[in-house]
């Protein structure tokens, strides 16, 4: 018997701006996405600006509800859930890394990671968070606030926070978009290394073809639809 996929989407659509206001025209962002990702896969999501990459990720992570279609993530039927149920489903199961880091500015690096563990209901948060930050090379920055960290360091905190709960799925939306090339490279190396240690499924949005080539599968989006879906043979582990 084959294990269920990490995520399975069928005919997902997302239409934004369905307001009654005359000034808001409805925009079809996703126009029927069907996709299955197996456990442990590393998927690169490519596509030009406006193709729907970030919106697809928002739907797959439950940050946005699809307008229509079926979606199962980590065994949970996302299509049938409301906002709060989706939030609950994310706890500890899905880790998210964003381009703009999105750390809590009023909390230290350690507290940022601890908060993810606390919400997931995982005990001994401080020890685990310390270990995670040490693993991403920030053992000496535990009590620094985001404003006291460089961009690269902030993104490492974000990665530590995403991985600390040992999620089954990690989503990364252009994690190096705000970083210089060298820093971006080290961040990607670290992300892939940490993923390898946990065995999580990774879905990464990028414009970087070199990074895409390190993934086991490359999906390209165009105009809200999957334009191509290629399995790479030179994927990094």
């Amino acid at each position: 018997m084959t294990s269920p996929p990490a995520l399975a989407a069928r005919d997902l659509t997302l239409t934004l701006g369905q307001s009654s206001s005359k000034t808001d025209a409805a925009v079809a962002v996703l126009r029927g996405i069907s996709l299955t990702v197996a456990h442990g896969e590393i998927v690169a999501l490519l596509g030009p600006s406006g193709s729907g990459k970030s919106s697809l990720m928002a739907v797959l992570t439950g940050l946005e509800r699809a307008t229509s279609g079926q979606l199962t993530v980590a065994g949970a039927n996302f299509a049938a859930m409301d906002e709060d149920a989706l939030a609950h489903a994310r706890r500890g199961r899905i880790g998210i890394v964003l381009q703009a880091f999105h750390l809590l500015p009023t909390m230290t690096a350690l507290e940022n990671v601890m908060t993810a563990l606390d919400i997931a209901g995982i005990g001994d948060a401080e020890t685990r968070a310390t270990a995670e930050l040490t693993a991403v090379g920030l053992g000496h920055r535990l009590h620094h606030y985001p404003s006291q960290l460089s961009g690269g360091e902030q993104q490492r905190v974000a990665i530590a926070r995403a991985i600390a709960t040992r999620p089954a799925l990690i989503f990364a939306d252009e994690p190096t978009g705000n970083l210089d090339a060298a820093t971006g490279q080290s961040i990607i190396d670290m992300l892939l290394a940490r993923r390898a240690e946990t065995g999580a499924t990774l879905l990464i949005i990028t414009h970087d073809s070199a990074l895409a080539k390190r993934c086991s599968r490359i999906i390209t989006l165009a105009d809200g639809l999957i334009a191509s879906d290629i399995t790479s043979h030179s994927a990094a582990t």
Binding site: L63, A87, H88, R91, L98, H102, L104, M107, I119
Partner: protein
Amino acid sequence: MNTSGTPAPLPWNICITIARRELSARFRGLRLLIICLFIGVAALSAIGSLTSAISGSIAARGRIILGGDLEIAVWQRGLTAPESQFLNSLGTVTSGTRMQAMAAANNLTLPVELKSVDGQWPLVGRLKLTDGRQVGAPSANQAWLAPAAAERLQVKQGHTITISGQALRVGGIIADEPDRLGEGFALGPTVITAADLPMRAGLISPGAMYRSKIRLTCASSCNPPAIAERIKSLFPTAGLTIRTSDKAVQNAENFISVMGEFLVMIALAALLVAGLGIGGGTTSYLEARRNGIATLKILGASGQDIARIYLLQITVAALVGSIAGLLAGALLLPLLLSLLAQTIGTLIPIDRSALVDPAALARAAGFGLLVALTFAAPPLAAAKNFPAMALMRARVTSLTAMPRVAYLPTALGGAALVGLALFTGPKPAFAAGFLAAAAAIFALLAGLGWAIRRMAARLPRPRHPIARLGLSNLHRPGGQTARLVTALGFGLSTFVLLAVVETSLEGNMQSRIPQRAPDYFIMGLAPDKLPTLTQIVTATAQGAVIRSVPAMRGAILAYGPADNMTHVADLDLTKIPEDAWALKGERGLTFSEQIPLGNALTDGTWWGANYTGTPLVSVDEKFAAAIDLKIGDRLTISLLGVERSATIASFRRIDWDSLGSNYVLVFSPNALSDAPYKLASTISLPASAKNATTKGAMMRAITAALPAISAIEVGGLLQQAHDLLGQMSMAILAAASVTVLAGMAVLIGAITAARAAKLYDNVILRVLGASRAQLLTLIMAEFAGLVLILALVALAIGSALGWLIMVHLFKFSFLPNWPWVLAVLGGGVTVILCFALLTSLPLLRAKPAAALREL
């Protein structure tokens, strides 16, 4: 998830942990909320404690203030033997008299309140003199003088004064008269003498206007109200006025209660205005944490978790603001008590060492927390409901719109606030009226805010870019127009209301009354001495007009058709109509051959000169209407303990504003003239005689020739009333300025909330080449347009409320000094604009490059 399918929220301990981590130790972002609550709670707790302290002082000192357990007063006579015998059987009794008299010394004269007491006085407490002695009644040829009397007669201890020809040595200056407050309003400083002085000085002659006062202390187990009822039933027609120690200063207590509640309501209005600041502060706080909220939602926090986390933070800030406000209120109390003791300490008992009232503090804290949670509920609910991606996507999408989920907590909070105001205050009906008026004004201003936004959105776009941007700022998403309109509209309306009421009172006092009022009231003039008075007055002030009427006092005993009269003793006088006040106790009576000056007959006929038929009486038309009197009805009065009846012949309209000798009941001469009486006279001086030299000479001559009379200068009375109204105005102004202060806090909050959007606009305009002067013009144009509209609305609201208060509450004319009202309004507008300018200056100083990096 739980068994019902609803995801389980995070445990409270996790919410507390996250809330604590996120909350800045210095409350950054929540300071406006804290300041707003601090202002409102401090005002509420200080005013509440002050009112409680005064009420508590009245209650605790009732026996001392009254000078016994009961006081029995009667006009123009002493007690009869049966009355005296009965009272003496109840306990220890002290008796004496109170009257107006003229004291003289050093070629100076002074109207004084002559208080003559027997050897038993005071039954409770001791009289303290300034030299430290504690004494009782003075000996036969001595007097204790109130400091004001000694000062104005320029005498000290050991000097001599004369009262109605009797020389009295000043035995001491009064430091603390134990029953001063129970004596009520006096037309001059007190001089205390032995009980027999009025008789020796000829001040107690038949018809003289004096009051006998008998105080009684009974055993500790006695029940004063029950004794009072017994006295009334035993002597129903005696015209006795009885007060008990539990209501020692009932009028003052009522005044304090109403005034205190009024001030509490003003402070509550300030707190409601502050609530707008709290709502705005919460919105700004959550807006600033938009990304943080999104991040928490990304990490798996549900909307309910978000609401809990930020509710905890808001509650902590609200507690800090409320506790600081309570502390400030408690610290202010001694200062306010000291201030009041110096200003109105002669009218109401002020215990400077009074402690804060825990109930008042609890009420203030309750109001504070309820206002905070009620006004914070809509933005909290909006943050709860916002999807994570929407939070990250659209900065312009405001949290201010009230989602449906906020309706219930907001309505519950509002109901709790109303309940707290109604059920914890002494005057629920008053509180309800005030809250209804405040709610109506809030609704009106909220409607105006909506209308301004709609209008600004529909107006054609101006061609000038600055004007175009200024107009669009009035209706842009996330704009602060609605909040500013309500807060500033309320503040400016308060300014106008205060100016209208104050200048109207002033107008009634200074413009109208003095022109028509006489210069002196003369009391206690024997009818045969009128020619002497006229001669002295016209000799010193040629052209002066003297008007005299017989003055007596009596109580109405019964009225109505001869065969079915209503007996006043059977009525509950607490439930009679307002215009039937003359039924309460003894009132002034007179008789006259002519219709009194300033009166007009509205029904019936006037008796002619030398009328000798059935005794007749003419009645004030309002009083007649209040107790349903008809022409031909009978009226029975008690005069000097003797019953007299008359037939109602006519009704009159009285011009009370004339300050002349106005009487509700005017009898035909044959009804009363056989009773002993004195005259009440008024002296109106010509303009040439209205100077200190002429007045001084005239009064010295009158006092020398007519020692038994008492002369009161009207100017002094008006000044006393003016001072009292001034002190009331100050109290209202102080409480109302809290409303304005709260409005200012809201203004800061609104400017802060709009800061990010305005900074963005300014930077883009600077990039496009706009000068700072142009940006300044934009800011000022936006505020000036709004504030000018609000000024007009405030003028209308404040004037309308002022009219209601003056005409319907105070029953005065509506006489505002419009130039002054407009000047006050202009001042308010200027302060707001300066404030807006000052708080907007940092936006102009922002460096475009640096700001662009941050945006």
